[in-house]
Symmetry: C4
């Protein structure tokens, strides 16, 4: 089975998850101080921006992985579904984090839930790479050198959230700062995978 | 008419139904015991996971059926719409089941509604196979041996929920356990349809 | 500009509008009589089914029109956007109709709103056909005989709701029954447009 | 990387943002004067229509830009994500503007938020054009004359909202009228970009 329709499902889930985040932005009813009531829940905007950035960047990274895929089988589809489960769930920890980040002791479970969901999303993404490495019939031949590189990058991304979870028990603001820093890191650093894929394809064409 | 745009509608409805499930996850307001308030509604998470898995697996199974289709007509489109009606409705019985699974006597209607909707989704999916068998002009010729196999698998999937409905009148937890077991069964068992399709296409190429 | 990406937007809006309907199904909180509380708002289910059917069937009809299109220009895109405006708005009159159909005198504005939105959706759909007829550079040449046929069918569909609006002032249930009957009529009757398109293409190939 | 899958994400986010607007239309509960209760929040309908039109027209304009793109790189993807962030957020200022446009002094922050988000959406769209001009490897060669034209048009569209923001401090209704007028202007005026692209491609083919 070609990967075409899987792309459609993945792109759809990402597009919806990214857009559903908007439903949790503050909508004060009959406010007499609208500016204040909009500025007060500022953690909501930060949470929105970080979750949007993580989802967008992960869509780009996942795109890089799918560029190495020439066919999919049922087990690979199921691994992708596990990944999409955590993609689609992101608006939920985002809403919880936005509501409780500045709520004293209740910020701890919110920070753990947020970083924990991000960790699971990263790890289920990472999980796809070794499966591809073990099933060369699913992979564009020239792309196989890219697989361990992609796996390492995805795994580090997922495991970075373990640090955010641990730090939450000391300081929740520091934990959220780590979540944001991970997004910034992946926004700045270029993935070596697409370059590897292109070089490999060029070499194969020579 | 080629099946291309039907794919787009199907993939869109699945992607949205699967992602709208997130709107019903618990969002406690101003909780002073967030961890407890998040853990207490645990049936919600189980219902979320089961519904997500059923939708994801059914998307894969439906994908297998569409792999045999080379053209669609209006009657086939309408059968597909009947199937999509139940796909799109899934977040509703999921929310009801999540709220009432642990509510004593009120769990019975919730369990019947949940298994009943799943049954209708399965049966409207199964309904597509015999239509294809009777309209060979819609089917890739080499794929016709796969049609009765796919029909049997889909019909059994739908009828398994009849058991879940009956069991609900004795024990609602057992009924929900059957719902989950059906999802696990379809996650583990490989559909023979894609294999049949591939073998048939290979034979036709010889 | 080819019509490919317009398809993606149309299919996306239809898939979402059709799936957002689910958010308005009844979700009783802490009910002690769940079966009754689910059965009581029965107009909701009828409204859901009728709106789903109308959207699904209109997607099929619009699909037939787009089968005649080989290129799109900005004015055609804008007409399509006007049509999509009413497609995307459908969950709103559906929710109003579901809440007020059995609310005595308040059922009248609900019935007028429902049929009025459906009428606008039908008329903005119909609006596309004469534009294509006047711009042959956008149309597959063999498809031009299908244009007046498609226009008549779409226009009648839109104008049928004028009857439903007028009847609402006499009897709102009769008005809703006409809304449902229009959906049933379009479900049963085959559009002559796809057949015309196929025959024309076959003739052109001879 | 080809631009195909980026189209899918863009079209998905637009389709969802455009359709989520419906969730904020008035749904009076148990109203005894439904007609009045539906007519009273009339700014909601104007806000809905203006936001729908802006999103639809911007989709068409962005479509024109993507017609010049033959490949995408990570930095271009990230600029597109920044643009999609503001596209996906539009239902939020729309809901705020709809609720507060007729609320006296509280209309000012609502008008500034609305025009400000529109401005950011326009500027992040404009931001893509110079990036393409500086990276000819991403652009269809014949399309390069269209790039400065497209940039100017997009930049003017974004900066027009600066006027709407400034005017809001004098008169909020005038500010909203400017928002609407910008939409009307872009609905009427044809973008020179698609024409330029077509002429350029024709010249290249000669």
């Amino acid at each position: 089975m070609g990967p075409g329709r899987l792309h459609a499902l993945i792109d759809g889930v990402f597009a919806i998850a990214i857009t559903l985040l908007v439903l949790d932005l503050p909508r004060p009813q009959s406010s007499a101080h609208l500016t204040l009531d909009l500025l007060h829940p500022w953690p909501t905007y930060v949470a929105y921006a970080v979750s949007f950035a993580v989802l967008g960047l992960l869509w780009i990274e996942h795109h890089g992985m799918m560029g190495a895929v020439r066919a999919v089988n049922r087990r690979f589809l199921e691994r992708t579904l596990a990944f999409l489960l955590f993609v689609s769930i992101i608006p939920w920890p985002t809403a919880i984090a936005a509501s409780y980040a500045d709520q004293g002791s209740q910020a701890l479970p919110a920070a753990v839930l947020y970083a924990g969901t991000m960790m699971m999303m990263g790890l289920t993404f990472a999980w796809g790479w070794p499966y591809l490495a073990l099933h060369p019939e699913l992979v564009i031949p020239a792309a196989s050198p890219a697989l361990p590189v992609g796996y390492r990058r995805a795994l580090i991304g997922g495991l970075a959230y373990v640090v955010a979870i641990a730090v939450a028990f000391v300081n929740t603001w520091a934990s959220f700062a780590i979540d944001a820093a991970i997004a910034v890191y992946y926004a700045i650093s270029l993935s070596p995978v697409p370059g590897l894929l292109q070089r490999a394809t060029r070499d194969a064409a020579d």
